[in-house]
Amino acid sequence: MTVAAGIGYALVALGPSLTLFVSVISKKPFLILTLLSSTLVWLISLIILSGIWRAFLPLNSKTWWPLAILIFTSVAFQEGLRLLFWKVYKRLEDILDAFADRVSKPRLYLTDKMQIALAGGLGHGVAHAVFFCLSLLTPAFGPATYFVDRCSQIPFFLVSAIIALAFVTVHTFSMVIAFNGYSEGNKVDQVFVPSVHLAAGMMTLINFASGGCIIGIPLLFLMAILTLMHCGRMVWRRLTENQRQGNS
């Protein structure tokens, strides 16, 4: 509607990530690089997916099942990439540890590893917010606004910003959970992440029904809060275990 509204929408989607960036990530250059590379990986995955699905677009907007298949394939692909990301990270960790030994510095602490995972997740989240929300915000800086039929109570830009906020949370913290699950071999965590991602994706399908977004978006936020809580609990557990190990 105006520049102020445009900036407002952008901040709704990216405010928490900006805070995280300024307080945690901008202090350590390596984390900035991790963030940039994970954003790039997410973008590449999006491009590949759009390449695959290009032939089928534009989809018929009356039926919901093509969109369901689209979400399912996209989530599966991205979770596969997350596994690949983990493998690359493992190799990088070994290189870094070897390098640290050589310059006689301490090896990476648990908090360092979690910070790297957080930066990776934040990269994914920021990529989602940028491509699904920010890149469509350009008209919002002008004099008018836009409503979609599916959710006609609030402007389209606000809806997409709110959904982006939920997804940023999900992406950021599920990366921490996933890395932890892979390193500990914890099956629960390993299964938790893809299922939450898939569930969150499917929740957005509820928006398909007219007036559905009133139910869909709060459910989406429920998933985000679930991810946050699980991550918090897991981090707390690991840190106290580590502390106990360190003290004993």
């Binding site: 350590k28 940039l36 790039l40 973008l43 510095k105 360092d112 994706g201 928006n207 398909f208």
Partner: protein, 420 residues
């Protein structure tokens, strides 16, 4: 908290130089995107410059005609740049350094004064800023003179110098984005190819320049961005609190000395254009790989970036050879990047901004990735490599992929409020 007493790990300091170069490049790109989106290019601002002399595009031509015209334009431009670079090599060979320096100062003044002035006029017109001619002229003149002083006298605060260099890059890049669309894209690709040829071929002008500078042990006067050197005080290596990077390599290793020349740009004067000079200070940038060497007796430096070589030195000093950068090393040991890289990256992103912001983000990520890949390639191959081709190639690729594939996909998904 126990955290405060723990010694710092690698994570605190690794990758710092890369960030110190990434930040100004990002700032320059951001400013150009801002300018492009604020000043919607109206068709009345037709740029008569050397880059569009062979053919001026009109929207009624067919695609093939446009492509051919763009090709002709870029070939003409690359030819001019090659000729002028050879002239620069000749002048450098004949030791006309003073002349080069004065010429460079003059062209910076013209860029800051005239190009900066025109863009300021556009902005004033756009925002209806109430300012009178005389104040404007006084301000502009002062701005340009301080800029020239900042860039060529190294006694100024480094932030001022860096700021002015970014501004010069931004101004030239903005002017390039005013070229017609097809010409811009073909020109970018042509410059990347030229860079590749000029640096890697034995007859390339940039390679000749490097060899001349190295054989004479001199600096080339040019427009170069120098990042602040990274100094670690808490390195934990007892004796040396300040790790200095040595500019000159060890004398018994012939190969090193070619790195030490900071190759940086030349200035191409465009006598035909009414717009003023076109800085092609890109030429030097892309090349030099330089080694950082460590003065201390200890091993690897903490500021060593991600890839470590681990080759042991063959002479008396036990310093290890660390990463080779794609850019130059300044005499104080900081990373240098020539202004031409800034300019062409910003041109690509600015042109992407003229389509949509999605392409801007995609191209930004591609360029940053290209920069990272170039640095890694240098670490592996350990010879001079140009920094422009990889980034431009990735940038152009991502632009077209985003424009034709991603755009439709995302818009489809978003309008149905289906996201993942």
């Amino acid at each position: 908290m126990a955290q405060n007493q723990r010694p710092k790990t690698l994570l605190d300091s690794l990758g710092e130089e890369i960030i110190r170069i990434l930040v100004p490049v990002s700032i320059c790109m951001f400013l150009v995107v801002l300018l492009v989106s604020i000043l919607d290019s109206n068709s009345s601002a037709s740029v008569t410059s050397i880059a569009a002399m062979a053919y001026s595009e009109t929207s009624s031509d067919s695609s093939w005609d446009k492509f051919l015209g763009a090709l002709l334009n870029s070939l003409a431009f690359v030819a001019v740049v090659t000729v002028v670079t050879f002239i620069l090599v000749l002048l450098f060979y004949l030791r006309c350094t003073k002349f080069l320096k004065i010429y460079m100062a003059f062209s910076s003044f013209v860029v800051l004064g005239f190009m900066g002035g025109e863009i300021a006029l556009f902005l004033i017109e756009n925002f209806s800023v109430p300012i009178d001619c005389i104040t404007f002229l006084v301000l502009l003149f002062n701005f340009a003179v301080v800029g020239v002083l900042a860039v060529f006298m190294s006694k100024m605060a480094i932030l001022v110098t860096q700021g002015y260099l970014i501004l010069i890059g931004m101004l030239v890049a903005y002017w390039f984005t005013l070229l017609p669309e097809w010409t811009t894209w073909v020109l970018l690709v042509a410059m990347a190819l030229y860079d590749l040829a000029a640096v890697l071929l034995p007859v390339g002008p940039l390679r000749l320049l490097v060899e001349l500078a190295m054989s004479r042990d001199e600096d080339i006067p040019a427009l170069v961005y120098e990042a602040r050197p990274v100094i670690h005080h808490d390195s934990g290596l007892g004796d040396n609190t300040v790790q200095r990077r040595v500019w000159r390599a060890r004398s018994n290793f012939r190969q090193d000395s070619e790195d030490n020349s900071n190759l940086n740009g030349n200035v191409v004067s465009d006598s035909n254009s009414t717009v003023g000079t076109v800085q092609s200070s890109h030429n030097g940038t892309r090349i030099a790989r330089v080694e950082e060497e460590q003065v201390s007796e200890r091993d690897a430096e903490l500021s060593a970036p991600l890839i470590d070589h681990g080759r042991n030195a063959q002479d008396g000093m036990s310093a290890e050879r660390l990463m080779l950068e794609g850019m130059g090393l300044g005499s104080s040991g900081a990373i240098k990047l020539g202004l031409g890289d800034f300019i062409f990256y910003s041109v690509l992103v600015g042109r992407a901004a003229m389509y949509d912001f999605m392409t801007v983000y995609a191209c930004y990520l591609a360029i940053v990735a290209g920069l990272g890949i170039t640095l890694m390639l240098l670490a592996f191959y350990q010879k001079a490599l140009p920094a422009l081709p990889v980034s431009i190639a990735l940038g152009v690729l991502f632009y077209f992929l985003t424009r034709f594939l991603l755009d439709v996909f995302i818009v489809q998904c978003s309008l149905n409020l289906v996201m993942f």
